[in-house]
Symmetry: C2
Subunit: 100 residues, 2 copies
């Protein structure tokens, strides 16, 4: 289990990578659940219809694109939406996605 997962800086965000991340319905759902909740969510507490290992893959894609920040609390991994960072890099993008 990686103790300190890699997170890109805002300056490193790439639109192409962000779009590829959110185009997947499962990942977009994860982002929307985080946005709607307004608080961080454990990997296991999301409402997604895929296998655990598949979920891990999706979280990794979201993290590497800069959409979420992940950190451990005990054996659980918590996920936070990087709203401020995303608004800085791509103003309006997140809001436009929340609609659908």
């Amino acid at each position: 289990m990686a103790r300190a997962p890699q997170h890109p800086e805002v300056s490193e965000f790439e639109l192409q990578q962000v779009l590829e991340a959110i185009v997947d319905p499962v990942r977009r759902s994860i982002v929307q659940q985080l946005d709607a909740a307004g608080h961080d969510i454990k990997c296991g507490d999301f409402d997604i219809a895929v296998h655990k290992s598949t979920a891990t893959h999706h979280f990794k894609v979201l993290r590497e694109a800069g959409l979420i920040r992940q950190y451990y609390v005990g054996t659980s991994r918590l996920n936070a939406l990087r709203r401020d960072d995303l608004d800085k890099a791509f103003p309006g993008l997140l809001d436009a996605l929340a609609v659908g």
Copy 2:
């Protein structure tokens, strides 16, 4: 050659389909060129690095998602960005994409 290509109504727009359309770099480039130009552009006048038949495919995807409107003038096919319709369906989305 289809004389009257199908275009979806604004009410039929689907975010998933729009995202799948613009996630492709070639297609996003087409949208950005249309946006930057401010006027309609012939299929053959875009600056894209793919074969003619591949371009046809991309235009079709963009059209069916509702991003562009196509109409014939002689043997040429002109492409128009459906900015107003998109702003209605997904406010802020197009602007957020123009940034990158």
